[in-house]
Structure formats: structure tokens, C-alpha cells
Symmetry: C2
């Protein structure tokens, strides 16, 4: 029997008249004659032409949406527009039926909400096919970017005994019998009997371990799952998500900002170059979606225009203090249209403020730096207190249109005395992080890094609006299906 | 100030006489004159020559092993062998001291056991620098191999509500207060109050979810952390490890074996081509290690010879039944040297048997197929019962010298009736895996896949012997430090 070919390969063939063999799933079957066949290798379907007069009636009935079939036939030049080739079937075999009465995915538009309920099948739709192909391309581009620059990919641990990472609520990990937890004499749980001999959690960040490796390899990055046990039911938060965290020795905040901007531009550019078909589809999808919105809520740019716009512009860089000045005198603040009015220096910025800066004021991606120390993590490098007595740290957040914060990072506090002083003030136990402090004891050096929430990146590049639609099987409060 | 250069880049420079700037960590400082400086960009150290007669005594004292320094100086051609350039320092700045009385990593040989206790610093040794550079290269090669072939990288969930994956003991994940778990009327734990509204665990495999995606994209792979809560204190097991799991629609076991062999050869070849310096070092390290072993325990091939040998030979393919015949009549079985003697068909193979086949009998990597159904998982495709009434499944295990099983896979059971029959026999609840069974209900198709334990691959390629030495921060019973 001749060898099966992928449909993507077949579209490049020009040996018309040759016998070919393909396998895939039926998307539609029109007029008992035209099968649109997809095997996942590309978004486009192959047209298979059935000689229905010479095909068994019972077989024709089984060619239904969702059925898996194997087709042998002759490759012919296509007369239809938009496709180069089609296959005149000489033999069709049903590999797996799909009962049209029961198959949840009919050839019509389904809501994203409905598709989330059948996440095991939604990959078969055009939208999710495109989203996950783009996700793949972005993941590969991240690895390629860092590999090209000589970074070392580190797998930092998922299970951690530390709960001092400070990035959010943690999930507990245990093998204890929850029905009958062993107790110590004082009534507290005896974690010495747990698998690791102590209480453990799921990591919220690989940064602290990443810093250890950066102090040897010079430049490293992580790309792995991280977890938040926060009860957030929003379109921007997941309980389990993937994060990319580069960390570089001898880098200051300027270097760090440049690295982040270069990385974002590299991966967006890679997606544009490698996912033209998918992005064109997602571009059209978004235009269609926006037709249902009132004029003033529609984007000024289409998806592809927005991506190109990001590539063509330097990101605006300004300090938190400068941002507060802009926001304080902004129209929505003056007219009290912000939900949280900007009054004093020191307030944390809300999504509405970030979006104002990016989407209205600058109309470009923005990097905010030098945030108040009080609203940032213990490991960020402390600036000199300014003339007005304000204490800031060398933090940076990158804000993107529609997404808000996509990257958060900082130069790290490399001075042992400053670091431990801050930890004490924030009640972070030094004993627990002895290994982290060791890097400041032995050959400490200036260094910096950042975290990129991968799903936020995928949201931005695909134009999807709910983060649950850009990860295969989303985990959120009350939901761990599949 | 002039821009810092990485040492790796400096080694390529020929602009002798120019002023350069480097930063790194002091490996050694000889005769108050020669600093061996490393910045992690390559294994080789840069020689920095200090004009000690014109350098402050106090500064010279601070140039100690492990200290981080910044050096400005002139690039000169090196007269020493093995290095092309060195730097004559005009200015040295101490970025971070390293007290030689306290720094645990002295410039001498430390045992791997000791280094495991200080895993946060062991990256700074030559051995671990080499191991993690090779690990990085292998990870990148895996992504490149699959990307080149059009596979889609899937991030399957880490937190799962399923405990039917059947690959081993699972860790529980919860946000319940372990001191005071909420109870239902019948006294059992009320998981409806847990974060996900049900009991959840850490995944042991992404395969089942991977199959869902393969039924849409045709070919996918996962590369993510997986977990086993087994109390195994061996040199081959970890509680947290990374696994690569490709899954391909329309593949049979033959295709699957070829894919696995191609992948292993691709990534080994990539490491040889991209980590020459590191593999040369690890090759020497292993030769050194083996000198302490009795003659008969030493490897016949050096590390690099072993890797090249794998590339140059087809993997031997045979069935479990054929392997049993070979083992039954083997010398160690006849002479009762095996701990577990091979007598009847149906026994699970032990490590000693796998190693005999690979290292003594064939002296090549071996792929065993068609194992007894009783010792394999429910999702493997069932063969026809043979003339002697034996029931086998289309499983495959790839066995490597020194490592044993490095890949385990199978063609999957795509027939709904056969699959559910098997699940019932093995007491696997069908309701819980409704989504998995749906792929057999709607457009089922032959498909196959396998799992590669990434750390076992790294063990093989680096020649290390304990799996705890090829992952940054190993997780095993009673240990979750860092």
C-alpha cells in the first residue's frame, strides 16, 4: 500500500495523476460528493471528490462531520479557488465513525463558553486549531531566542518547601492521609511523616532558584508551570499557568528592559512569519467579533496591525513617579471616571490606569520602572531614598494594550545587608532562604531578570479575550476537568 | 565605560591591544598574578594577568575563589597552551567577596554526595556546568526535532482530578486546612470545599490529554514535569521529573518505533555537535571515575564512543516473547546468576534482564515489543490472542546500555468496545474518563505514542550515574531543599 502523506505536504505536490493516500477527519460533506478533510497538519482542508454513483450507500452515510477516514485516490489540480490540489477518491475507508446525532461539534458557530465545556474536542475547531498552533510557535520562538543568545534553560522545581516566594497563595502538596493526619504531641500536624519530611507547596515562581543558576551560568531562563491558589474568577487569571523567567548576572535594569523588549519583538515577529495562515484567520475572527461591539469599544487596529505596530515602535520607558503625574492630571482622573482615583504617590496602579497609559496616552507598549518599595517584593534592588523621602525599587513592569501587565521584573538586591534588612522588615524568615542568601555571601554580583506570563503573551498574539481559551485544559476555582 | 563582553566572545577576538571589560567569578588565583576567570558563558576560564606590584595589597587579598570581579584591561595573545587570548588587567573591581574560610567550594575535587548538599552552588563546578549545558542542549534539540516535523507542543495540565492514569502513586494537591479538614455528614472529607471542588493530584503523565490533542492536530508532543509519590530511594528515580510524550494520529507501532529511534539519534547527535567541550570534559571525568573500578566493571566504550555507537547502529527490534526465549537459555539464567530467574512466559522483566539483552547479548540499543497484556496499561492496543492463548499488547520499551528503559510507549487501543472491556476488567472508572472515551466515540483512529524520561536521557548522554545529579534541585523522599 502506498504511504500516507500529510495534507500540508500534499498541497505542495504537483505530480498530478499520481495515486496518493491521506487520512484525516471529515469537516463537512456536501452533496454526497465533496469531503472537506483535515488532518491537523494545516488549517486548510483538502477537498476529496467522491464518485457517489459508484460508492456504496451505507458507506456514504458514514461520511459524517467528525468521522476519521482513510482515502486513496488520484491527485488532481483543483479548479476551486483557494486550493491548489484535490483528490479524486478511488477508495474510502471509515477509520472511526462520528454519530451526527451525538457529536457535539456540528459544522456551525459554537460559543467559546460552550467549547470550554468540551475542551477535549475544541482543538478540532478552526479557532482553537489556530490558537494552539500560534501557542506552539510562540513557545518554540522563546526557546530559540534564548538558545541563540547562549542562555541555559533551567527546570526549576515545581514542588517547593519554601512559602516565602511572596508571589501569591500556594497549593499544598502532600501524601498524608487527609482523613487521618498524623499529629505531634502539641496537636499540630506531624509533617515529618509526609513524603518530603516537611510541608511542601506548588511553586509560584522559579525566580529564586533561577538566580542561583544565573550566578554560575551567567544567563539562564526557566519555562515551566507555576501556580496560584487565589480564588480569582477573571478572564486574566489561571490557577495553573506557564511562566518564562530569564535571569542574568551582571545585568542592570536598562539591560533587563532591553532584553525583555527584544524577546517580545522576536517572538511576535516569529509568529507573524510562521503562522501567517493562523493569524489571518484570527484577524478575521476578531474583526467579526468586534462587529457586535459598539463603535467606541472596537480596537483602532486589527490584530495583525497591532502586532506589526508593536514591532515597529520602541517601548516607552518612564518611572512610576512620572506615570503618577500623568495619571493625576489625566481627563478620567479629573472627571472622576477612574474607579480608583489617583491622588497620592504610592498607590498601586490598577488595570484601568495601566490601560489608560498604554491605550490612550502613549498608544504604545510602556515600561514603568522604579515603583514604591512598599508595593513590591523583597528581592528588588533598593534605590537611594529621594529628596522627598520616597523609597523606590528598581522594578519594571511592561504594559501591553488590551492585556495590561505582560512582564514584571527587576534588578535584584545583590547587597546582603540591604536584602536581609528588607526581609526582616517584611517578616520573611532568613533561615528558610539560607541558600538564596548564600549567593549574596559568596561572589554576589549585580543581576536582573523578569517573568513573562506565557498565556498573557498568547492572548495578546491571538487576539483572544479569555485566558481560559489559550491553555489546553484551564485550571480555575471549582474546575479541574479533563 | 566600555561595554562588557562575555568570555566566550572574547576567545574569538583577535583585536589585540584593545581595551576590553569582562565580569565573572574567580576560579583560582595563582602567584598573586594569574586569575582564572569564568562567567558561565563557556567552560574554559579566561586568564587575567594582574600587575601585582602596582595593585593594592588589600585588593589582592580579596581576589579569592568564588569572588565576583569586574576587570578592565588590554587583550593580548596568550602564550599559554589551550587558550588563544588573555587580559592584562589595568583595573580590577570586587563586585562580591567570597570568604575563603567559609566558601564551601574550594578549588579541589569534591564528592558528588557533598555537592548534592549544596546544590545551589554546585553549578559553579566544571562537572555540573557541563551537565547542565548538555541538559540545555538536549532540551532544545527535543523542541527543534518536533518543531521541524510539524508537531504541536502541548502543555498538558499538572494538576489533575483523574487518578486513573495508572502510572504510579500520586501526590495530593489541596487548599484545605489540613488541621481542620471540612467533613461531610458521613465523616468523609468534603472536597466540594476544596479549591477545585473535588480531590486533585499531581499528574503522572500527560498522555491521556495528549491523545485528545493528537486527534485534532495529528501530531503533538508534551514536555513538562510529572510526578511519582513512590518511596523509591534509587539512583534512577525522582519524585519530580520531566517527561516528553509525543502522540501521533494514524501511527502504528512500527511508525512509533521509528519516531523514537529518530528522535533519540537526533538529540544525541545535536549534543555531540553542540557540546563538544562539555562532552570532552565529561568523557575524561568518566574515564577517571572508572579507574577506581575493577576491570570487569569498566565500560568497554568511552562516553563519546558510546554516543557515536548509538548513532551508527539500528536499534534491535524483537518481541517480548523472543526476548524471553533468549533470556531463558542465557548463561546467567542457566547458572542461576540472575536474581529473578526467567522461567515462565508472562514475567515482568527486571533491570538485570534488560541490561543482559542490551549490554551482553545484542550490545546495541534494543526495542522490545508486544508485552503480555497483564503487565501493561489499559490503553495499549490488544493483539489477537495467539495460538497458545497468550494475550499481548502493542507495547514497546526502548532499552539503553547502563540506563535500562529510556522510552516506553505503545500503539493505543482505538476500539471503544475493546478499551472499555479492558477498563472494566482493571476497575478503571469509565465515568471519570468520559472525555478520553469520547475520542473513541467520535472519529477514532489508530494512533500511537511514547514517553521519554528526560533525566534518563541526560544521564545517558552525560555519563553521570545518579539521576539526582542531572536535575537542578532533585525531589526525593525526605528531600525538597532549595
Amino acid at each position: 500500500m502506498i504511504k500516507r502523506q500529510q495534507i500540508k505536504e500534499l498541497f505542495k505536490e504537483t505530480a498530478f495523476g499520481n495515486e496518493v493516500r491521506v487520512m484525516g477527519w471529515v469537516k463537512t460533506f456536501r452533496n454526497n460528493q465533496f469531503i472537506a478533510l483535515n488532518d491537523g497538519s494545516c488549517m486548510s482542508n483538502l477537498q476529496v471528490v467522491v464518485d457517489f454513483t459508484n460508492t456504496d450507500e451505507a458507506l456514504l452515510k458514514r461520511i459524517t462531520t467528525g468521522a476519521a477516514i482513510a482515502v486513496t485516490g488520484r491527485l488532481v489540480e483543483s479548479l476551486g479557488k483557494g486550493q491548489s490540489v484535490e483528490v479524486k477518491a478511488s477508495d474510502i475507508e471509515i477509520l472511526g465513525d462520528s454519530d451526527p446525532e451525538k457529536y457535539p461539534l456540528q459544522p456551525k458557530k459554537h460559543s467559546l463558553e460552550f467549547l470550554r465545556e468540551i475542551a477535549h474536542l475544541r482543538f478540532r475547531t478552526n479557532t482553537f486549531n489556530a490558537v494552539f498552533k500560534v501557542r506552539h510557535a510562540l513557545a518554540f520562538a522563546v526557546h530559540q531566542f534564548f538558545n541563540n543568545r547562549g542562555f541555559v534553560y533551567m527546570h526549576t522545581p515545581v514542588i517547593t518547601a519554601s512559602d516565602a516566594e511572596g508571589a501569591g497563595e500556594m497549593f499544598k502538596v502532600t501524601t498524608l492521609d487527609l482523613d487521618d493526619t498524623p499529629k505531634k504531641d502539641d496537636g499540630s500536624i506531624d509533617f515529618s511523616q509526609d513524603f518530603f519530611g516537611r510541608a511542601t507547596n506548588l511553586t509560584v515562581s522559579g525566580q529564586l532558584e533561577g538566580e542561583l543558576a544565573a550566578m554560575a551560568f551567567g544567563q539562564i531562563y526557566t519555562f515551566g508551570p507555576t501556580f496560584r491558589a487565589e480564588n480569582s474568577n477573571t478572564t486574566r487569571h489561571l490557577a495553573e499557568f506557564w511562566m518564562i523567567e530569564p535571569e542574568v548576572a551582571f545585568f542592570d535594569l536598562e539591560d533587563n528592559m532591553q532584553l525583555a523588549e527584544d524577546m517580545l519583538k522576536y517572538v511576535i515577529s516569529y509568529a507573524l512569519n510562521n503562522c501567517a495562515e493562523e493569524l489571518e484567520f484570527l484577524n478575521g475572527r476578531l474583526l467579526e467579533e468586534e462587529k457586535n461591539k459598539p463603535q467606541q469599544e472596537r480596537s483602532e487596529l486589527s490584530l495583525v496591525e497591532k502586532l506589526n505596530f508593536c514591532l515597529g515602535n520602541d517601548f516607552v520607558r518612564l518611572t512610576y513617579t512620572e506615570a503618577i503625574q500623568i495619571l493625576r492630571s489625566s481627563k478620567p482622573n479629573q472627571k472622576k471616571q477612574f474607579k480608583y482615583l489617583i491622588d497620592d504617590w504610592g498607590a498601586d496602579l490598577q488595570s484601568e490606569h495601566e490601560r489608560y497609559l498604554v491605550e490612550k496616552h502613549f498608544k504604545k507598549p510602556v515600561i514603568l520602572t522604579d515603583y514604591p518599595a512598599d508595593i513590591k517584593a523583597f528581592y528588588m534592588r533598593q534605590n537611594e531614598t529621594d529628596s522627598e523621602g520616597r523609597r523606590t525599587v528598581r522594578a519594571m513592569d511592561i504594559l501591553f494594550p488590551g492585556i495590561g501587565e505582560i512582564v514584571g521584573g527587576s534588578q535584584r538586591e545583590e547587597r546582603l545587608d540591604k536584602l536581609t534588612e528588607r526581609m526582616r522588615a517584611m517578616n520573611i524568615p532568613e533561615e528558610e532562604l539560607w541558600w538564596y542568601l548564600d549567593t549574596r555571601r559568596f561572589g554576589s554580583a549585580p543581576h536582573a531578570g523578569f517573568g513573562l506570563g506565557f498565556e498573557r503573551l498568547v492572548l495578546f498574539v491571538t487576539g483572544m479575550t479569555n485566558i481560559r481559551d489559550v491553555i489546553a485544559f484551564p485550571r480555575f476555582p471549582k474546575s479541574a476537568e479533563f
